[in-house]
């Protein structure tokens, strides 16, 4: 075991062992371990095989910044082993095993190899694709995966702080002190950030004390809500953050934002810089301090800053033998930590750099060379650990997403954050305040500024100045003639690959990214963007600032589909009668946003037929609550209806209804409904279920421009509707009402009356949609259920039966009534649909009038007609089967049904204009290309004179 004694390992609980399996073998870790740290404690160094060359990979950042630590956990692919905590019984496996032979051919697998090698001949890709697909990717998706529970949390904050290091903690405290409500999001399980694992000074004074002190203050502050183990995955417009915390997706809106996301150490590039055992200095420190894991036995530290000596001192304290410290800097740079290391007699090799690592499955030795022109003689240090501390880059993904720019600053040999948008502040190491003291002071200042931006009044405070010294080496890249010098670990992009891309003409950083797939992997260039920019700049002989950085895109960190889907709510609207439908065994179907009964019972065919016949012979009830209903009131009500609808309604008498069409400005049909005049200045207009919301929006939009003296009220949800249809409808209603004359004379066809049925106030419309005597009763939604039950009870002696949408569709088709959206499309004009009579072209204006005028001058392209089949026994066509003539498509079937009462197939179809006369035969192409003969038949198919509905 490589486990260190206390005080190392501040996150682990030594009293709680956790057993898990990795690649079939059993291991034991400790509570608080990540998968990677537990395996490291057990001496397992290889966590994965690389994406392209199948090279062994292990811990590099210990912070979830590279694809090399992605493993399969149970059924879940692409889990970062250095981020995910181990759990009892967890089964972990590598994504790929074997296949390393391919690395020997890597010179034949340059970037773009797949594009160039497999795209010709055309059929070849079908052969290659399955083979290649099996070899690539990060893990296996289990199609049988049952999924888990996910949910979403919506939060609001005056100030949101991202990062729980010294800067973030101080910012949260400073903002809360002004009275601001603060949400603090931290990616790790414990607050403290670098304080928990970094080495702030030579004496080894642990930052943990400051972390504990700030953490306690934050915990004690009631205005700070702390979310740990919460990864902020995106920063969107107007300070809108997405964060993943376990199985939860958090959406957070903040008035102001402090980004204290720290800096991220960057690798050096040299041969075999990807071998397990090569890692960032910070990774070694994290293993030691957080997890109490000894990262190696004998180490080389390559450094370009004083912090690298802190790594060496930490390693020494952890009992790791120091083979050498390669200091890339010339001369004798100052630094407390360097002095302490020298004082302790650690072997410092000044002006030397690692140029290659040796070893097959892990580092065995480090080759180093001088950095002057001659290079000096090569040296070789045997070691199983190589720690890299050659500089960093701001962890600025969120800032860039928010609109800031990462600009290269030659003075610091790295990227700096510029151009933060309004209300977004950076604090701490992300903006070059590296020491704990500077970060804390900077966080305090940023917290106050953020509070000010959020509308609070803080004491003013100046930011501490940025550290003048830079931790960055300007060019820690040592290309090797034999390659394996990786710039991007995710996709195995080497120095030669970058050079090849340039040769092929992909000179812009974003083109380089797309061609080599550098910075396109799971880590989005977190460890490669800086070195890629340096390489590109040197190759093109440009300053790095002119090259820029590739754009890191959201999400930062893993978001699974479960996070995006949440609990899987599918909101539907249910009518007030929904419980009654359920009680009667209704099968529901979606209609717009609503659920409507399709039919009642278990056997669709039997139920629909019985429902249709009940309406023909007795009386049926259908829930029409989903229809849109709008009150148009005011002196300009007639004017509004005239403008909005195509028909003429000025002369419509109060108490009467008329069928109304609505067109858009292009003259296409968008809806139909009943326009009912209740009073001279009061219209009640209905709309179809799916179009109601759009019609309401459209009414309001036109009214915003017309500014008529009119009031439009949406009654769609306020009113429920029950249509009572059938020859016995009057027998059912008459005994239930005192103030409504439901006789043919008292309430004639297309009449409307207001009154009461069983003391429930109703608007009763005499409509003709189903072809029998029908009363549409529009009632307050809260009373609909009582009315429905009363009608069912009172109608029992009459054979009353509820009917659903399926029966209604057959009934309306028998009458030749169209359904907008089913029998029409986005181009259908009233003339094509045979509804020219509902258009009053004599009116000076209505929406769509000018377009209809223009389209009337153009030849008609098709007509909607009724049809029956030449052979009544033939199998019926389906909706959307094509109408063909001499091989050309001239139209399609829009509606088709078998009419029980007529005992034949009836339908509506578009045909060529010269085929529209009744009696003309036409051809429908049905399944398997067979042709079916149909005959144009003038609707209504049933009761053409309308005697039954009068």
């Amino acid at each position: 075991m490589n486990r260190l004694p206390e005080p190392f390992g501040c996150l682990i609980d030594r009293s709680r062992p956790v057993r898990f399996r990795f690649d079939g073998l059993a291991y034991t870790g400790l509570a608080g371990d990540s998968i990677a740290s537990a395996l490291a404690a057990n001496g397992v160094r290889v966590l994965s095989s690389s994406f392209k060359h199948r090279r062994p990979r292990g811990i590099y950042s210990a912070a979830g910044h590279e694809a090399g630590v992605l493993v399969q956990v149970n059924q879940e692919p692409s889990v970062a082993a250095d981020e995910r905590a181990i759990a009892e019984g967890m089964t972990v496996s590598r994504h790929h095993k074997g296949g390393r032979w391919i690395e020997r051919f890597d010179r034949f697998l340059p970037v773009g190899f797949y594009y160039r090698a497999f795209f010709r001949p055309a059929f070849g890709w079908r052969l290659w694709e399955p083979i290649i697909r099996r070899r690539v990717g990060h893990g296996r998706v289990d199609p049988g995966f049952a999924g888990g529970e996910h949910d979403k949390l919506h939060l609001h904050a005056d100030v949101a702080v991202v990062g729980g290091g010294p800067a973030g903690l101080a910012a949260a405290l400073a903002a809360a002190e002004t009275g601001a409500e603060v949400v603090l999001l931290h990616r790790r399980p414990r607050l403290g950030g670098g304080l928990l694992w970094g080495r702030p000074d030579a004496a080894g004074q642990h930052g943990g004390d400051l972390a504990a002190q700030l953490g306690a203050a934050v915990l004690a502050e009631p205005r700070i809500r702390i979310l740990t183990a919460a990864t902020v995955t995106g920063c969107f417009a107007d300070r809108w953050l997405s964060a993943v915390q376990g199985a939860r997706l958090i959406k957070l809106r903040a008035r102001a934002l402090v980004l204290a996301s720290g800096q991220r150490e960057q690798p050096a590039v040299f041969r075999n810089n990807d071998l397990p055992g090569v890692m960032l200095g910070s990774a070694a420190q994290r293993l030691i301090r957080l997890h109490g894991v000894k990262p190696g036995r004998r180490a080389v530290v390559a450094t370009a800053n004083d912090a690298g000596y802190g790594v060496a001192l930490d390693l020494e304290e952890a009992g790791v033998e120091l083979a050498g410290i390669l200091d890339l800097r010339p001369g004798h740079p100052p630094g407390d930590l360097r002095q302490a290391a020298a004082h302790r007699g650690l072997p410092i090799l000044q002006g030397r750099a690692p140029v290659a690592a040796e070893g097959r499955d892990a580092v065995q030795a480090v080759l180093h060379a001088g950095l002057d022109e001659a290079g000096g003689e090569r040296g070789r240090l045997a070691a199983d650990l190589l720690c890299l501390s050659v500089g960093g880059t701001p962890a600025a993904e969120l800032a860039v997403q928010a609109g800031a720019t990462l600009a290269y600053d030659p003075d610091v040999a790295g990227f700096r954050l510029t151009g933060l948008p309004e209300g977004v502040f950076a604090a701490g190491a992300v903006d070059r305040r590296f020491t704990a003291q500077a970060a804390e002071a900077d966080g305090k200042a940023a917290g106050r500024e953020a509070a000010r931006a959020a509308g609070f009044v803080p004491q003013p405070m100046h930011r501490p100045t940025a550290t003048a010294a830079t931790p960055n080496h300007p060019f820690p890249i040592f290309p090797h003639p034999e390659g394996k010098d990786y710039v991007d670990f995710d996709h195995d992009v080497t120095v030669a690959d970058v050079a090849n891309a340039l040769t092929d003409g992909f000179e812009h950083i974003e083109l380089l990214k797309r061609y080599t797939t550098l910075a396109m992997g799971p880590s989005q260039g977190r460890l490669s963007a800086l070195n890629a920019a340096r390489l590109l700049a040197r190759a093109r002989n440009l300053p790095v600032a002119a090259v820029g950085a590739p754009n890191p895109r959201p999400p930062f960190g893993e978001e699974c589909f479960g996070h995006l889907a949440g609990r899987g709510h599918h909101p539907v609207r249910r009518s007030a009668l929904h419980p009654a439908h359920q009680a009667r065994g209704a099968k529901f179907m979606p209609a717009g946003l609503w659920l409507r009964p399709a039919y009642y019972g278990s056997d669709a065919e039997v139920a629909v037929r019985a429902e249709v016949m009940a309406v023909h012979h007795d009386v049926g009830l259908i829930d029409v609550s989903t229809l849109g209903g709008f009150d148009i009131r005011g002196p300009d009500a007639p004017e509004f209806v005239e403008r909005f609808h195509t028909g003429s309604f000025r002369k419509l008498a109060p108490g009467r209804c008329r069928y109304g069409l609505v067109c858009d400005v292009a003259g296409s049909l968008i809806d139909d409904g009943m326009v009912c005049r209740l009073a001279p200045e009061h219209f009640y207009v209905t709309a179809t279920t799916g179009a109601a919301d759009g019609i309401y929006r459209s009414m309001l939009w036109w009214q915003a421009q017309w500014r008529l003296d009119v009031d439009i009220t949406n009654l769609t949800s306020a009113l429920a509707g029950i249509s009572v249809a059938g020859p016995k409808a009057r027998d059912l209603l008459a005994p239930l009402t005192r103030d409504l004359d439901v006789s043919a004379a008292g309430l004639p066809f297309v009449g409307i009356r207001e009154g009461h049925i069983a003391d429930i106030p109703v608007r009763a419309l005499r409509t003709g949609f189903v072809g029998e005597v029908a009363f549409e009763l529009h009632v307050p939604a809260g009373m609909a259920l009582a009315l429905w039950e009363m009608l069912l009870t009172a109608g029992e002696r009459l054979g009353v039966r509820p009917f659903g949408v399926e029966a209604q569709r057959i009934l309306r088709l028998q009458k030749g009534h169209i359904i907008i959206g089913q029998d029409t499309d986005a181009n259908t004009t009233p003339a094509e649909a045979g509804l020219a009579l509902a258009v009053a072209m004599a009116k000076p204006y209505f929406v769509g009038r000018r377009a209809l005028e223009i389209r009337a001058g153009q030849p008609l392209e098709r007509r909607l007609v009724g049809f029956t089949l030449a052979d009544p026994l033939a199998a019926p066509p389906s909706e959307c089967h094509l109408v063909v003539r001499q091989g050309d498509i001239v139209g399609r079937v829009t509606s088709v049904a078998h009419s029980p009462v007529l005992n034949q197939t009836i339908g509506l179809a578009y045909v060529a204009p010269d085929q529209a006369e009744p009696g003309i035969a036409f051809t429908i192409k049905v399944r398997a290309g067979r042709l079916l003969n149909a005959v144009v038949t003038k609707p209504p198919f049933y009761d053409p004179a309308g005697a039954r509905q009068a």
Partner: protein, 99 residues
């Protein structure tokens, strides 16, 4: 997600709104050729820069007008439609003797 300033409801999440396209007052149809009418119906400037758009706050059913810079995607100003459409629009002579 963006915040959109609604003159009636203040700053609200963008998902509560529907964009109604550029503000383009309806011309007098009788004066327009078929081609000009098609231009009015189907063509939009899609300008890079300042645009004046219709926006609907869906929960409250409130249409308003916003000026937005499409280059920076910033809302510069939003105001009630009555600011542009101040008066009842006459659209042709009313039929005498009705109403």
């Amino acid at each position: 997600m963006k915040l959109i300033p609604c003159p009636l409801n203040g700053l609200r999440n963008a998902e509560e709104f529907v964009c109604g396209g550029e503000v383009q007052p309806e011309p007098d149809a009788s004066q327009l050729s078929a081609a000009d009418w098609a231009q009015h119906v189907f063509h939009r400037d899609n300008r890079a820069g300042l645009v004046r758009e219709w926006w609907l706050h869906v929960p409250s059913g409130y249409w308003f007008i916003a000026e937005r810079d499409t280059l920076s995607d910033r809302f510069l100003r939003s105001y009630p439609a009555s600011e542009l459409f101040a008066k009842r629009t006459p659209v042709g002579p009313a039929e005498p003797g009705d109403r």
